[in-house]
Point group: C2
Chain length 430, copies 2
Amino acid sequence: MNKNINIAVVGLGQIGNYLYNELNIKKKDIENKTGKKIQIVAISAKNKNKKRRFKVNKKKFYENPFEIFKKEKIDILFECIGLSDGISKKIVETALKNKINVITPNKSLIAKHGDYLAKLAEQNNVCLEFEASVAGGIPVLRTIKEGLATNHISKVYGILNGTTNYILSDMENSNEPFEKVLRKAQRLGYAEPGNPKLDLNGFDAFAKVKILSALAFNCKISKEKCIMEGIQNIELKDIKIANQLGLRIKLLGISEIIDNKLFETVHPCLVSKNTYIGNVNGVMNAVIIEGNPVGQSVMQGEGAGPGPTSSSLLSDLFSIMRGNKKFPFGISSKKRKHIRVFNNNKYSNSLYLRFEVKDKQGVLSTITNRLSRYKISVKRIIQTPDKKSKKATIVIITHKTSEINVKNCLLIFKKNKNILKFPTLIRLYN
Amino acid sequence: MNKNINIAVVGLGQIGNYLYNELNIKKKDIENKTGKKIQIVAISAKNKNKKRRFKVNKKKFYENPFEIFKKEKIDILFECIGLSDGISKKIVETALKNKINVITPNKSLIAKHGDYLAKLAEQNNVCLEFEASVAGGIPVLRTIKEGLATNHISKVYGILNGTTNYILSDMENSNEPFEKVLRKAQRLGYAEPGNPKLDLNGFDAFAKVKILSALAFNCKISKEKCIMEGIQNIELKDIKIANQLGLRIKLLGISEIIDNKLFETVHPCLVSKNTYIGNVNGVMNAVIIEGNPVGQSVMQGEGAGPGPTSSSLLSDLFSIMRGNKKFPFGISSKKRKHIRVFNNNKYSNSLYLRFEVKDKQGVLSTITNRLSRYKISVKRIIQTPDKKSKKATIVIITHKTSEINVKNCLLIFKKNKNILKFPTLIRLYN
C-alpha cells in the first residue's frame, strides 16, 4: 500500500455525514499511528445542495458515484448508502473489481451478498471490511476473527437491535403502550421515522445473526430463516406480567451449533431479571460468545448511532492502512463450509402463552385439555378476570416442548369463539 | 515470515503446560487459518521429570533455556515463567535481540520493563505481544489497539483481578469471614496457595492498570503509584453494611486523564447493586472503556486460569503468523509521550468510614467534631451498639472530600483511646 491513501465516501446520510467529519477530525491521529497520509478525494450523494455538517467541496462531489472510478485513483471506498442490493451492491462490486478496498456498515448487503463479495475481494487481493454492520461500536467481528481466533465457538447470542431494546425497556419504565413508545423512539432518533418495520420485525437483528454465524463457525452465510419474530405483538400487558414473574422481555438473536447443525433465530425471550442479559437496557447492545477454552465472553456497548458506527468504520480503515490484510470472513472463501440447518420443529423451550378469553365456565379446561392432548405440561397458570367486560386473561407457563408440537396445538385456537385472539407466545430463555 | 514457524515454550507451569497442550490440539486449525505450518521445536522448564499433562519429548527439552538460542532456529518464543525481572526479562531480551517474536502473559514484566522491551522489539523489527497479561481471555488490549483505535479514550476501569472479586463475592454469599473464604479460594485454585499477597494487596491489578493506561493514552508506562490499596482490610461487617445500603464492594482498577494528567488507582470501591459493575461477580473480570465517539464499551469474561490465558496467547500467535506486524503499544515508542501524574491529594470521593468505638457518651461527637473541623460533611450516620461488649460500630457516609483532607483528618484517630482501631475507609464510586 502506498504512503498516500486516497479515500472516497459514497452516501452522505446520517452515517456518511458523521464519518466524513470524523475523518477530518481524526486525520492527524490516524496518520500518526499508521505513518501514512490520508486524503478524501471524492464524496458522493444524491443531492449536492442538501444542508450538511460540513461545506461540500464541489470539486470532490460526484452525483454519479460510478464517475469516481473513472476520474480518481481510489485506495479505500466507504459504502454508506445502505441498500441490500441495487446501487450499494453495484458500487461495492465495482470497487472490488477495480482493486479498491471497501469498508461498509451495510448489514443487509453483507447478510445477502457477503459470500459473493468476499470471494470477489479475495480474487482481487483487497479487503472488504464490515465491522460496523454488527453491534455498532462494539468491535465484535474483529474479536471473533482475531482476539478469539483460535477458540472453538459453540454459541453467539445477544441483544443486536437497539431500537427494539429501547422500546421494550421504555414500555417497562414508563408503563406506556407499544405504539406510544414507538413514536417516542422515532422522535428521539432511535427508530426510523418512516418505516421502522425492519427493526421491529426482527429482520435487522437476523441479518446480524447471519454475519455472526459465518464468522463464529467459519461457514457460508445461510439462506434460511429458522425463526424470525419481532416485538410487534408484545403488549404492555406482557411486560407487566413478566415483571411480576421476575422476568423481562428481550429480543435475542441466537446462533448456535446443535447436533452439528446451524440454528439461527431472532425472537423475543423471557429472561430472568437477575441475569446479565436481563440488565442490558435502553439502546445498548450486547453480544455473548461461548467458546473453548476462553469460556463466556461478553461485549456490551452502544449498538447504533453515527458515533459508534464511525468508531467501527475507522477501525476498519486503520486495519487496512496498517497493511493488515485479511480474508473478509477470517478464512479463505474456499475453506468456508456449508453447514446444514437445524430443523426448527425440534427447537424446544418453556413457553409463556397468554390467552384472552371470554370469562365463561369451561374455557380454561378447553385450553388445558388441548395442551394436555399435545403433552404440553403446565408449570404455572395465572388467571386474571376482568369482571366488567366479562373477559379474562390466562397466562400459562409450560414445561419444555417442541416448536412443532406447539404450532399444532395452538392451531385450533384460531377459530374458537371463546378465545378472543390468537394466543401470544413468548419463549423462555434457559 | 517463512511458511514454517518454529516455536519455543519457556516455562511449563500451569500456563505453559496448558498452552503446550492447546498448541498441539489447535495446530491444524491454526495452520488452516494462517496457511502456515507450526512446529514446537523447544520446551524448557526447571525440572524435566515433573509429572505433566503430556509426555516430555526429551530431544526438545532444555533445562537451560538460553541453550535454545544456540541450538535452534526459533521464530516465536512464549515466555511463561512469570517473573518481573531475572530470567524472564533475560529470556525476552535475548529473544528480541535475536530477532525472535515474543509472546508473554507476564503482566509484572511488561508493567515494569514494557517500555524498554517494546523499544527493543521495534529496533529488531519483531513483535512483542502480551494480550494475556490483562484480563485473561478478554481481548481488551487488541480491542484498544485495533477495534477502538481511532477513538479518543478518556477512561478505562474495571475489575481486573479475579481472586479478589471471588473473595468479595463469596464473603457476601456465604456470610463467611475473609480468612475462611481466602482458604476456600486457595483450595479451588482461585488464589495462589503459597503467597496470595500480590493479588490481595492490589499489586496485580495495578500492573494491569499501568498496561491499560499505556495503550489507552499512548503514553509511557508510569513509574508512580497514585493509590494502591487491596482488600486485606475489608471485613465481613463492611460487606453486610454495604448490603443494607444497597451497595457492593468491588476492587476497581481505574485509569483516567484528569486535567491532562494521568491518574491510576486500585482500591476497593462501594458501587450500587443496580449498576453493571456491581453485578460482575465471582472470578469474572470486566473492563469498561469510555471513548469518543464510541461511548461506553464493556467487555466481560473469565479473567484468569489457563484456558482463558491460552486463548489470548494463541490470539497473539495467530496475529504474528498472519504477518500482522504491530508496535507493542499500538504506536511507535518514539511517539509515546510521558504524561505527568495527577496529584492524588486532590482525588475526591464520598467516603464510607467505619469506626469501632467504646460505647461511651461523647465519642460520636468527638468524631463528628473532628470531621467538621476538616469541613467533611456527613451525609448519613449508622450507629450499631453492641451492648454486651460495651462497644459500638459507627458508619459514616460523607459527602465528597479530597484525599489530603481525609488523611489529615483521620490521623488523630490513631491514638484515641475510645476509638478501638484506625477507621476503615472505603471510597464510593460515583
